[in-house]
Symmetry: C2
Subunit: 108 residues, 2 copies
């Protein structure tokens, strides 16, 4: 288990949804965007990513469709739904709150 695995647990869905607010994207690209944004400090494991996609789609927070690539490997694109945006908003607010909670519990 990596350094930050249990600590970031539970944020995967929020992180994915947030990436999708910049526009539709696909698994591989989302993964790269996360690595790039954190300068390699954090990466979502593939298995984690795809199980999260399944959960999010089952919950109607995202929607998927196959891209029509002329060449190269096929891509499954995801777009965030209206419910997804609301869910994301709530999670972001919750995160702001949790940050202060944990700070209050572990800092001097």
């Amino acid at each position: 288990m990596s350094l930050t695995s249990d600590i970031i647990r539970g944020h995967t869905e929020t992180i994915i949804l947030s990436q999708l607010t910049d526009g539709d994207s696909y698994g591989y690209q989302i993964n790269k965007a996360i690595k790039d944004k954190t300068e390699g400090d954090y990466e979502v494991k593939e298995a984690t990513l795809y199980t999260a996609f399944r959960r999010l789609e089952s919950a109607d927070l995202i929607h998927s469709y196959w891209g029509d690539e002329a060449s190269g490997a096929r891509r499954r694109y995801y777009s965030i739904t209206e419910e997804g945006r609301e869910f994301l908003e709530n999670n972001i607010k919750e995160w702001q709150h949790v940050k202060t909670l944990i700070d209050c519990l572990i800092s001097k």
Copy 2:
């Protein structure tokens, strides 16, 4: 599962260790201290608390002993070890880092 359960997952050990830097304490009191500090916003469930104590003691991060109460229910006291202090220091540093990571990934 409560609002913040998966988001706080992984912080339980750090939170407990941090409470113990104020001096030795026992389960019930630690639990109350957490509830009080967060004004009831967050509480560690008993099962979670006691499994965490087992883990922490197995890892030599805390040490336990029975109090000699003249009356009332017996109390098992815990004290943080030197390794526990180092572990806590690292976790606090990691938390500062993770905060910026997640902010960078979910904020606009």
